[in-house]
């Protein structure tokens, strides 16, 4: 399979391709499982937090654990950089972002999250659909200019692929031969709109050929296949071959966000049929079959996930609102007299009230 041909190439959908473990050692597989378990537990907990009034809203990634963990696991954090949307909690967790700082956005504490993007190698949480895809291209081109080996990993969805910015980004990247990987999580839905009403031609990866870019379409519920596809794409970009597309076919099992009611636009049957095999269950079975892990391992992984979540929840519950002065503080590096005047009046009036 030559994935460096322009045009979509599918890996991981046939059991033969997906169920082999190209370069992953048993401890890596165990790590992948543990990550997915942590992400799954935190994700479902976050939905519960919202129901309990701990956070006002959340965009669950249930079903996309393999796509997020597998892709982020392939990053070289010494030099690469990831650009998330609003749904990449699993990416953040995989690359080791402070999860209280990450989840703070969903507590409405600060837009974009409170982690340090430069240290974390993760751009701020992005609420504009397709908003950061061009940033990834610019950042990647910066690596070329600097002669550094970093690759940008740009996350976006099937819905986002309709935005003009994605086209501009792909074209810029291909013209400039920028080291960027466009990683699409095609999860079947953009809120209520199914992929077939969104993505003409049926897949985002099919568009790559038009830009002279190679693409891989991968079973997004197979964490190993996702890892492998992303690793190859990162290598491709890192070795000067330019941008590449990876499209992970997965399924948004939950609602779009805690404010959404999927029952209005899809049936439970749809969900059952389209969701495919559960990413965690799938890896678990395989590890058991391969003798890579036993029940104790899984129990321990789940216990770790539970205690992690407990700590994060405690952090989130303890997180107070930011002082209002920060509204003014972070607008500029160099503030302005007019802003200072406004900040002063805000302070006086707040004191008064």
């Amino acid at each position: 399979m030559d994935i460096l041909q322009p045009g979509p190439v599918t890996v991981g959908t046939a059991p033969s391709a997906s169920e082999t473990t190209p370069g992953l050692a048993p401890e890596q597989l165990r790590e992948l499982y543990s990550l997915m378990a942590s992400v799954r537990f935190l994700d479902t907990s976050a939905v519960a937090w919202q129901r309990q009034g701990i956070i006002p809203g959340y965009a669950p990634e249930l079903g996309q654990e393999a796509a997020q963990v597998g892709s982020a696991y392939a990053l070289d954090l010494d030099c690469d950089f990831a650009f998330p949307t609003y749904r990449e909690m699993g990416v953040a967790r995989t690359i080791g972002v402070d999860m209280v700082a990450y989840m703070s956005t969903h507590k409405a504490t600060w837009h974009g999250g409170m982690y340090d993007p430069q240290e974390s190698r993760l751009a701020p949480i992005q609420a504009v659909v397709a908003g950061s895809v061009l940033h990834a291209v610019g950042w990647a081109h910066g690596q070329t200019l600097q002669g550094t080996p970093g690759v940008a990993l740009s996350y976006f969805g099937d819905g986002a692929s309709s935005q003009g910015d994605v086209h501009e980004a792909m074209n810029f990247a291909a013209v400039m031969n920028a080291p960027v990987v466009f990683f699409i999580q095609n999860n079947g839905w953009a809120i209520s709109v199914p992929t077939e009403k969104q993505v003409a031609g049926g897949s985002v990866s099919a568009r790559a050929a038009g830009y002279g870019m190679p693409a891989i379409q991968v079973d997004g519920n197979d964490v190993v296949a996702v890892y492998e596809a992303t690793r190859r794409a990162l290598d491709h970009a890192r070795t000067g071959h330019g941008p590449m597309v990876v499209e992970a076919m997965t399924y948004r099992r939950g609602p779009h966000s805690t404010a959404d009611d999927p029952g209005r636009y899809r049936s439970l049957d749809d969900e059952r049929i389209d969701a495919g095999k559960d990413p965690l269950e799938r890896l678990r079975k395989r590890m058991l079959a391969d003798g890579i892990a036993d029940d104790d391992f899984f129990a321990a992984a789940h216990e770790t996930a539970r205690s992690e979540e407990e700590a994060i929840r405690a952090g989130i519950e303890a997180l107070g609102p930011r002082p209002g002065s920060e509204m003014f503080e972070f607008v500029f590096q160099e503030t302005t007299p007019s802003l200072e005047t406004q900040a002063n009046r805000w302070r006086e009036e707040s004191d008064h009230a």
Partner: protein
Amino acid sequence: MLESTTATLDAAVEYAEVEHLSMQQALNRALDDVLTADPKTLVFGEDCGRLGGVFRITDGLQAKHGDARVFDTPLAESGILGMSVGLAMAGFHPIPEVQFDGFAYPAINQIVCQIARMNYRSRGKLPMPVTLRVPSFGGIRAPEHHGESLEALFAHVPGLKVVSPSDAHDAYHLLKYAASRPDPVIFMEPKSRYWQKGPVDMRDGGTLSGARIVRPGRHLTLVAWGAMVARCLQVAELAAEDGIDVEVLDLRWLKPIDAEALARSVGKTRRAVVVHEAPLTSGLGAEVAQLITQQCFDTLKAPVERVTGFDVPYPSGDLEDEYIPNIDRILLGIQRVLEYRRG
């Protein structure tokens, strides 16, 4: 121009006299009526079809009017607005939605350079009867870009008209009115008021052009629009306890602004405060203040005060109440105006 009549689309629809509706229901009914009365009307946007919109404003409309007339589009705002231009050229009356205020930005090029100019460019041969619905303003603790106030931008664009209702009655009638005009109208819906119920006189919209005095008063005029109108009414009640009789003027039309109504009201009260959620600098409050000053210079007792959002990006939910003009800040603005003495 904006004629002082109720919408005249109503042949096909039968009404009860007064209904108690939320603004969401009122807008939904307005769209239903327009779709029923005018076969050229199309309602579309992201999630507007099957789902009925993330705010349910288009709820049930696809089932009733069919998926040719009420439909989901791909996720691309420039596409939605650009397509609207072509549909208008083909004789349709598009009522597109952008899902949230902040997502109007990707469509600005099509709005400013195309929708607002096609009538002009074509010397009147290609009218653009496009009513763009924009769930607007803040106050619902939403994610980034979901609490923006774009009225100053829209009002500055030649070729656009801009309106924002503050209650269910106006929402119902202004939307029907806007949708029946031959010019593009940006219809800014105060999303924090969607679930607020109020009486809607289904038959008689009253005067739909220009501003509306929602509370008469003698001492000072509060000018507001959208969600700030209700807040100003609260403020007026509180001020009344201190013997201050505040007039509240709902501007409604943000372009064209009803300059006469401003002059009439402030001509009487001789003091004015303008309130909006958008940032201060170059906000629509400056235009309102200048229109008042220009017309009432001789009688004005104090410079017009602006109580607005700050020149900062709309903050996250936790800081929303620090940003949006609250009752205290508006009261303090009123106090500054009342206490003003020439130096």
